[in-house]
Amino acid sequence: MSLTAADVKKIAHLARLTMSEADINRYTEQLSKIIGFVEQMNQADTTNIEPIAHSLDLSQRLRNDIVSETDQRAAFQAIAPQVEAGLYLVPQVIEGE
């Protein structure tokens, strides 16, 4: 299956990646090749095969409801790009965006 430039633009937006026209052309070609390659999977008959998300055939382990973490805001925000009054700053979010 081959992808169109419009597909690539849509994917790039979903993944929040910026792309020039040249990038889009390049990725359209590369992604089409890769998607074509992975479509080899269709050769396999997977009727009645359970999909598996994990190689471990185990159930999830749970933790006790205990507060174990302390305030480390200063350390965490020391490496933040932009903070003020303990808040992380981002360009204005228009409500409902």
Binding site: L14, H54, Q60, A85, G86
Partner: protein
């Protein structure tokens, strides 16, 4: 053709755990920004989620409370989208296999009838942080303290046909989660939130396109927002337009809803099973264990109250709306041995009014169950009249002492001595010869006048039944 409204609700209840759903950070409300966001909540590189077992127990509790099937093997999935209050770029939620399956709740309507609302599912997920839109040099501030707080999202079927029904359902769930002690129900702090899916159709037609209403964080707003939206949709269709499938934000100050996202920008959430979390298995043993600890639920209590105390559906419904209120009522009835109806009237009347006025919860009532019980006993044994009891209630509210003490101190004991009452009546008859004559001539309305005079003369302390009887007798004499 007549229009029909179709409403389904998605309720988000924050679960009352100590720590977050996937981390050991505290869930306490109101801390300094980002001081309760640990590395896991902030989505630092390399961190991993570990599920809080209490959140699982609470979800199961809810499931049992709505008679739902508990999914033995449920799965956590990632809902992928970018937003500054969502640190990892995905929300850990449940998609195809939620922990709570189909259930239902019977909701009491205004006319006392019960309406069944079906619950599609309820699933566990993590809450997002908060965007603070105050101006930081044209920027938005992000506080991630709330990120990772456990949420139970409760999704109903589109079973409701009016804003009133939707509110009644919302109240029923609100009451249930507090009974189960899994959510504090605080709508102001956002620990109990609701989105409404609203559509309209002409009766008999198939479902119309729905709009999702957000930001409706009080019972009143839910009703108003839905009513506004219904009118908007009907006007739109009647004007030849089409309803768009979109998310709309309710603005309580303008009382209107407005579009948030348009259809073409509809998000593609790319759900897939979270590879960091294996399937969640709930054993039969755990379910049995939780079932055993389940309290009496609101609908069970309501039925019992109606039967055991002979209450009306309306009274029972009000009393069971909170577990604490119901408990207060039962304690008062048991301690006073008073008529349940009398206790109901006092609790739903004087007490509720006073609590409302001072904005207090029943658990913080200045009048204890023992005090109210004693007060009701004194009414029933004729020590005081109902009217005087209201004065005493006020004194109790103001912490002026115990019931009998106040009666004694203020001399509020009811006059029941026939001789004394007769003397009182004789004097009134003597003082008002014209009115007596008119009454005896057939103007029976004047009876109230004589009662009023007698009460006034005795400072309200005369036993009303005795007074009535004696007064009738005396006036009929001659």
């Amino acid at each position: 053709m007549e229009w029909e409204t179709v409403i389904g609700l998605e309720i988000h209840a924050q679960l009352l755990t100590n720590s977050k759903i996937f981390s050991g950070a505290s869930t306490a409300f109101g801390a300094e920004p980002n001081t309760q966001a640990c590395a896991v909540d902030l989505g630092f590189p390399g961190v991993l989620p570990v599920l809080n077992q209490e959140a699982v127990r609470m979800a199961v509790k809810f499931g049992l409370g709505v008679g739902a099937e508990i999914t033995k093997k449920s799965v956590f999935a990632r809902k992928n989208y970018f937003y500054p209050d969502l640190p990892k770029g995905y929300q850990i939620s449940q998609f195809e296999l939620p922990i709570v399956g189909k259930g239902h709740i019977d909701v009491q309507q205004e006319d006392g009838s019960l309406q069944r609302v079906n619950i599609t599912r309820a699933h566990l997920e993590e809450d997002a942080g908060k965007s603070l839109h105050e101006d930081f040099h044209g920027q938005t501030g992000i506080d991630l303290n709330r990120a990772g707080t456990p949420l139970l999202e409760i999704v109903s079927e589109p079973d409701m046909r009016s804003a009133k029904e939707a509110v009644a359902y919302l109240k029923a769930i609100h009451s249930l989660v507090r009974y189960l002690e899994i959510c504090d129900g605080n709508m102001q702090e956002g620990s109990f939130r609701c989105d409404a899916n609203v559509s309209v159709r002409r009766k008999g037609d198939k479902l119309g396109t729905r709009a999702e209403l957000k930001n409706i964080n009080s019972f009143r707003f839910v009703e108003r927002a839905i009513n506004y939206e219904v009118e908007r949709q009907i006007a739109l269709i009647e004007g030849g337009g089409k309803v768009a499938q979109e998310t709309r934000l309710y603005d309580p100050t303008k009382n209107e809803t407005r579009s948030m996202r348009s259809k073409e920008e509809a998000n593609d959430y790319r759900y897939f099973p979270d590879p960091d979390l294996l399937p969640l298995v709930v054993t039969d043993e755990l379910i049995a264990n939780i079932r055993q600890d389940l309290p009496e639920l609101p609908h069970q209590k309501r039925e019992r109250f109606m039967k055991q105390y002979n209450l009306s559906a309306y009274d029972a419904d009000v009393l069971v709306s909170s577990r604490a209120l119901a408990m207060y009522f039962e304690t008062v009835v048991q301690e006073s041995k008073a008529q349940p109806k009398l206790a109901t009237n006092w609790i739903m009347g004087e007490l509720s009014a006073a609590l409302n006025k001072d904005n207090l919860e029943i658990t913080a009532s200045p009048v204890s169950t023992t005090q109210l019980a004693t007060l009701l006993q004194r009414i029933e044994d004729n020590t005081i009249s109902g009217k005087i009891a209201k004065t005493i209630f006020e004194s109790l509210w103001n912490k002026e002492g115990e019931v009998d003490e106040i009666i004694e101190k203020k001399g509020l004991k009811q006059v029941t001595d026939t001789g004394a009452i007769e003397a009182l009546i004789d004097k009134i008859i003597a003082d008002n010869p014209d009115n007596v004559a008119a009454y005896r001539a057939g103007k029976e309305k004047l009876f109230g006048f004589f009662v009023g005079q007698a009460m006034k003369a005795s400072g309200g302390k005369t036993n009303p039944q005795q007074l009535n009887e004696l007064l009738k007798k005396k006036l009929a004499d001659n």
